[in-house]
Amino acid sequence: MEAVLFYLFGALLLGGAIAAMTSRSAVAAVVWLIFAFVNAAGIYALLAAPVLAILQILIYAGAIMVLFLFVVMMLQGPTLKSELKSIGDRKWWLPVGAVLVALLNWMHGVSLEGFTNDAPAGFGEIKGVAELLLNKYMITFEMISLVLLVAIIGAVALASNKKGMPW
């Protein structure tokens, strides 16, 4: 059952990603990317990480992709004439892909000492995640939120005063 679901989600994820890269319309590409993200969430759920699965849907498929859609729509305007050329014109992605595959192959060979197949009980549950986030990695977590705060302040400063910065 799990294996069937894993291959199903995996195949759909890859299919969605490929369709996102090759689709000619930017909006369609974003929609395919959302589809790929939802399938990635399915794989997280299979890996006993329900929090990660739901965060994936909430943040990536929900919030960030909505932002992408917004930007694409606003920049392209309400016209459906695609300005994107076929991806077949660009040959440079072939070596990049080859490097990525080689990297994956190398990682496959690296010894997996210290990693176990089975996560400790409750690892991916909300309590496990919260304990790691608010104890062990608290400083990192707070620093990331500080970075986000700086970004918010910057955005507000840019948008609020057309004459220049408030300072």
Partner: protein, 351 residues
């Protein structure tokens, strides 16, 4: 789900293993939830017109069906199914077809975690509340797709407004429920309802002032989240024709309509479960007719939402954003802080 599988195995004598139980129970539950959604649309369109009529001193539908136009929604449904299915020539056809389906799915999925009665919940998952917010955010993508694919300026404006509004109001909506999660110590919808046993002052909304304010914030944001008046900017008839579903007809339009009324009922059900004690009675610990008690509370909330829609005039877009970012979000953060301090002082923190 337990009730359903029990019914299937014992009453109908089905022989099922674990996977079979999961699949059969899940399918039955999904069917029930789809029926709940359809019933929502039928009952609420009628109720909405009758309440609107009452508020505006007129009768509302009176002719179809014997009693007060009771069959009006059925007549409407027949009419809408008989309409021509139009896809504009310049529309982005795959996205145009996909958009209502995505919105419908996003409004069907959250029902899986709504606890109607003890044991009557499609999926008793630990992250229930979190799950509901996550899957219902998919509707925003559907709205943007509908607006874009229609290739119509009203639809695009409506979609942009709708997405901005829903993304913004999701924040106070979720923040308002966090004090409840802190008090209960769980995101499981069943646990949240069980934690409110013992009379009206144990319900989260009336437990302490901070939670009451949180309930109010949730209620206001939920009206905005389902795009209803006075927050129905995405579909303002007077400026945008119909907003993001301007170009839709027939069954595709019906899917938008169905999702809207299902969402209306959904946010009321969540408010009932999270803030108003779910199936618990206002007095005592006894569980009497839990499903009916739950539905009665949810129906009351829906009627209040209809009342608000037909009483208040529509806000402007900037006023809408002002309310969200400058009033509701700071207020919900204060609630979070206040109820956290209260929990610490009273020593009520769930271990």
């Amino acid at each position: 789900m337990e009730i359903i599988t029990k019914l299937l195995t014992e009453t109908f004598g089905l022989q099922l293993d674990n996977t079979g139980q999961l699949v059969a129970g899940g399918l039955t539950m999904a069917l029930i939830m789809a029926l709940v959604m359809a019933t929502c649309a039928i009952v609420w369109t009628w109720a909405e017109r009758k309440v609107a009529g009452f508020i505006q001193s007129r009768y509302g539908p009176m002719r179809v069906g014997k009693y007060h136009g009771a069959l009006q929604p059925v007549a409407d449904m027949v009419k809408i199914l008989g309409k021509e299915d139009i896809i504009p020539d310049d529309a982005d056809k795959p996205l145009f077809v996909l958009a209502p389906i995505i919105i419908f799915i996003a409004s069907l999925l959250p029902w899986a975690a709504v606890p109607f009665a003890p044991g009557f919940i499609a999926s008793d998952m630990d992250l229930g509340l979190f799950y509901i917010f996550a899957v219902s955010s998919g509707a925003i993508v559907g709205i943007l797709m509908a607006g874009w694919a229609s290739n119509n300026k009203w639809a695009l404006y409506g979609a942009a407004r709708g997405a901005a509004q829903m993304v913004s109001y999701e924040i106070p909506l979720a923040l308002a429920t966090i004090p409840v999660v802190m008090r209960t110590g769980s995101l499981n919808m069943n646990d949240i309802v069980i934690g409110q046993q013992g009379g009206i002052f144990h319900w989260n909304a009336f437990h302490d002032p901070f939670l009451f304010v949180a309930f109010m914030i949730y209620f206001i944001s939920s009206i905005a989240e389902v795009n209803r008046g006075p927050f129905d900017m995405p579909e303002t008839e007077s400026e945008l024709v119909a907003g993001y579903h301007t170009e839709y007809t027939g069954m595709r339009f019906a899917l938008f309509f169905l999702s809207e009324y299902a969402n209306l009922f959904l946010v009321s059900c969540i408010a009932t479960a999270v803030f108003l004690g779910g199936w618990n009675l206002p007095v005592g610990n006894a569980v009497v007719l839990p499903g009916l008690v739950f539905l009665a509370k949810a129906v009351l909330l829906v009627l209040i939402q209809i009342w608000i829609r037909w009483t208040l005039p529509r806000l402007r877009v900037d006023q809408l954003m002002h309310v969200c970012w400058k009033v509701l979000i700071p207020l919900s953060l204060l609630c979070l802080l206040g109820s956290g301090i209260l929990l610490m002082v009273s020593g009520e923190i769930a271990a």
